[in-house]
């Protein structure tokens, strides 16, 4: 039975991609399968972005994760929550507002370096979320033990905490790198060639779906490597831990300049993420018109409704896959559940086309298609953390439950779900924030007169009407902050 379910979910996830591949293969107007100069440059651009963002975002996420989970200093709790702020702000908004703000002052923001910096800022939160969770919960006892044995904070971090958190950090880096592979607006504005732009241009502008499919495969390969390496990393350092009973207080108390440094390091990214659009808004607040404000309410309601529904659907499906992975020893099931996360690799606009091709003849409602797309696209976001958390639960727990006569549903309800509440909530909120920011799918699949906040921001920004984009941009940030606030209990109480 479980097998049927997992096959169905994976098929749902794969169907749009398979449709696209088929379309690409049968289409007759294709030019060539060669990548060409542009294609090579686009792959190079995406690889550089992934490497740069992975490094900077990874370090930033790990450092902020450790400082706010393992150390105590004034303002720690607030700053911990504040790390989620940058995630709430779409990268294209950061890029557009920074470029505009700087150009107003005669500065030019352009090129790979800026793209890496902005993407790191926008996406290090994935690393932070997964690593801080791990720092706070896993290996708590080991850390306490090492401390009582006289190990200092630095050594404790490098010898105990970091190795334990590596799988979570790896998962976070992989997630953030996938966001980078998919990023379109920001990199385009900054003039960096990228696979996502290349795929879209080949498909839509050159009318060459085969060429687009070839580039999609390149993107797919990059994401495949990311997911697989994250898996490998996790397998090598698998540790079981129930967590839960440990006291939530951080271990290391920072004083004096150390505390000041910790505050500076953890405050800088969220401050920057708010300052960039903030300064830009301050420069153009005169452009806020009453008519722009009047349309905000329906826009926000639609964004909210879509995001909530999508996160419910996606987390449910991810949980299902995770459960099956746990109980089924079959290799095929594991592979299927791996493949189901690949929707993340495909640029949203390409996925959207697959869905339109699929959904048209079935006369599916555009909203259903849109939710399907969100689920497909963001499955990996909720799955990644969930799988990591599931793997921390020792199999002995399951065995104990079974030997006491529980069925797997019992075990799920009474053992796993309570233990997984944190990761589930984190996964759900990540999807929520992603959907609020999501652009290509929403643009391509929404019904008539169904604009969302992100759609509006993007339309105004791409018309270079920066002032009009301001109000919806502000609301996107607000929704993201709300989501971040909802995470507080998951982060603070355990």
């Amino acid at each position: 039975m479980l097998l049927v379910v997992v096959v169905a979910v994976s098929l749902l996830a794969l169907l749009p991609l398979l449709t696209l591949l088929r379309q690409a293969m049968v289409s007759s107007d294709a030019q060539s399968l060669a990548l060409g100069v542009d294609g090579a440059e686009q792959i190079r651009g995406t690889l550089l972005l992934v490497a740069g963002e992975g490094l900077i975002g990874g370090v930033l996420g790990t450092v902020t994760g450790w400082l706010t989970a393992g150390c105590s200093f004034p303002g720690r709790r607030l700053l911990r929550i504040a790390q989620l702020v940058p995630m709430a702000i779409p990268a294209y908004l950061l890029a557009a507002s920074l470029i505009d703000w700087a150009s107003y002052r005669g500065l030019r923001i352009h090129g790979l370096g800026w793209a890496i910096a902005l993407l790191s800022l926008a996406n290090y939160g994935y690393v932070f979320l997964l690593s801080t969770e791990s720092f706070a919960v896993s290996g708590r006892r080991l850390m306490e033990a090492s401390r009582s044995l006289g190990v200092g904070p630095w050594r404790c971090f490098f010898r105990v905490a970091l190795p334990i958190a590596l799988p979570a950090i790896g998962a976070g880096v992989a997630l953030s790198a996938m966001e980078v592979v998919n990023e379109l607006g920001a990199v385009r504005l900054l003039g960096v060639p990228s696979l996502s732009a290349g795929i879209l241009d080949r498909w839509q502008v050159d009318g060459d779906p085969k060429g687009a499919a070839v580039l999609s495969l390149a993107a797919l390969a990059i994401v495949g490597v990311l997911i697989a390496s994250e898996r490998q990393l996790r397998r090598r350092s698998r540790r079981w831990n129930l967590g839960g009973e440990a006291a939530p207080q951080p271990l290391w108390h920072l004083l004096g300049w150390r505390a000041a440094l910790a505050i500076g390091v953890t405050a800088l990214p969220p401050l920057l993420a708010m300052l960039i659009p903030g300064l830009w808004m301050a420069q153009g607040w005169q452009n806020l018109t009453p008519e722009a404000l009047a349309e905000l309410w329906p826009l926000a309601l639609r964004s909210l409704g879509l995001a909530l529904t999508a996160s419910g659907v996606t987390v449910g499906a991810a949980l299902l896959l995770a459960i099956v992975r746990r109980w089924s020893p079959q290799l095929m099931v594991r592979q299927l559940s791996f493949v189901a996360g690949l929707g993340y690799a495909v640029p949203g606009s390409v996925l959207a086309l697959g869905l339109i091709v699929l959904g048209g003849p079935l006369a599916m409602s555009p909203l259903l298609l849109l939710l399907w797309g969100y689920g497909d696209r963001f499955m990996a976001v909720s799955k990644q953390g969930l799988d990591a958390a599931f793997e921390r639960i020792p199999p002995s727990v399951d065995e104990a439950a079974i030997s006491l006569g529980s069925s797997w549903t019992d075990a799920l309800r009474r053992v796993h779900l309570p233990l997984l509440r944190g990761p589930l909530l984190v996964g759900g909120l990540l999807v929520f924030v992603d959907v609020v920011k999501e652009l290509p799918l929403t643009l391509a699949l929404r019904p008539f007169d169904f604009d969302t906040l992100a759609v509006r921001v993007f339309q105004y920004a791409s018309d270079e009407r920066v002032g009009a984009a301001m109000a919806p941009a502000l609301l996107i940030m607000l929704l993201g902050l709300l989501a971040a606030a909802a995470l507080v209990p998951a982060l603070e109480r355990r």
Partner: protein, 347 residues
């Protein structure tokens, strides 16, 4: 424990909200469609004033207008994928290159309308009667007179002059505005001359290629660039905006009209899949008519189909001789133009 109910509540709320909105939307559509009183518009334009115009159309005719705004290429692709199932009746696109793409994908149906033939000049509509222009925009040269003598530039060809070495700023190749400009040159002057011209222009380029016109116009005003090519409405927008510093910067950029000047359009056509082609044609006629055409153009500081309009900022720019090249030709030669640009090193 406390987190569980929150999550569940949120979900419930979300589903409720969604189904309500979906329900409301579906019902309106069905009701209106039954009476054949609806036009579904896919539009590459996103101006709130457009909606005022659509509302005015509904007031006059009783025909409801549903709007889906998006990026042009995305809308074309969506319409292609939807095929005969598409609900769209009218497709409004910006730039000749996109119109041609949509036309080649067989998305439009030919319509006959004496009104459209009267209101839309021949070179601004498809000879095959599939699409009709609604507004015009021009892409003049803008110079900072402290750095570049405006008298140097009489045509686009002059942008390749060695006197402009290190002073020119250009929009990237991905921008359809750049592509159409080059296609215009290509048609008027031929491939060899255009290739040569492109090499000269690229040699004069002084900055990494820009991804937006506004930043280029500002760079000219601030003196980082001596000259650039940008659509007139970006400068007009800065000049008539509420930001004093921007107005000041923009005032230092001077419009120089090459002879002839490259002009492009926003245009619309009735879709092949349309179920309400008559209503769609009526909306098109309404939008192209001189009275509402002014409004459509004014939203974005654009020029109406004929004459120069009443926009005071645009009036200050003066008038120009428009390129005789037709929109249809320009779209047709787009790919060739992009190839030449790539060969010349336009990034």
């Amino acid at each position: 424990m406390s987190t569980r109910p929150t999550l569940r509540h949120c979900l419930g709320l979300g589903i409720a909200l969604l189904s309500i909105s979906a329900l409301a939307c579906g019902e309106n559509l069905a009701q209106a469609q039954a009476r054949n009183q609806v036009v579904n518009v896919y539009s590459g334009r996103h101006y709130n004033t457009d909606k005022t115009l659509y509302a005015e159309f509904t007031r006059r005719t009783g025909i409801k207008v549903n709007l889906l705004e998006g990026k042009d290429d995305e809308l074309i692709q969506r319409l292609r994928s939807e095929g005969t199932n598409s609900k769209a009746d009218l497709l409004v696109l910006v730039d000749a290159a996109r119109l041609y793409r949509a036309q080649e994908a067989n998305l439009f149906r030919p319509i006959s309308s004496t009104e459209l033939n009267k209101d839309v000049p021949a070179n601004l509509r498809d000879p095959g009667r599939r699409w009709y222009a609604l507004t015009r925009r021009a892409r003049p040269v803008m110079v900072n007179t402290a750095l570049v003598n405006p008298a140097l530039i009489r045509t686009y060809a002059d942008l390749a002059r060695p006197e402009l070495r290190g002073k020119l700023c250009l929009r990237n190749r991905a921008s359809v505005y750049s592509q159409s400009l080059v296609a215009d040159e290509l048609i008027r002057r031929g491939a060899t001359a255009t290739s040569q011209w492109l090499r000269g222009v690229i040699a004069n380029n002084s900055q990494p290629f820009y991804s937006s016109d506004t930043t280029m116009v500002r760079a000219v005003g601030q003196g980082q660039c001596g000259a650039t090519i940008a659509n007139q409405y970006y400068l007009a927008r800065l000049l008539s905006g509420d930001n004093a510093a921007d107005r000041n910067t923009a005032s230092k950029a001077r419009v120089v009209w090459p002879n002839p000047t490259h002009v492009n359009v926003t245009a619309g056509g009735v879709t092949r899949s349309s179920r309400n082609p008559d209503a769609a044609r009526r909306l098109l006629e309404f939008l192209a008519s001189p009275s509402s055409g002014e409004g459509y153009a004014a939203a974005n500081n654009e020029y109406p189909l004929k004459g120069w309009g009443n926009n005071p900022t645009l009036k200050r720019f003066g008038t120009f001789r428009t390129s005789p090249v037709s929109m249809e030709q320009m779209g047709r030669r787009n790919k060739e133009a992009v190839q030449l640009m790539t060969q010349a090193g336009w990034q």
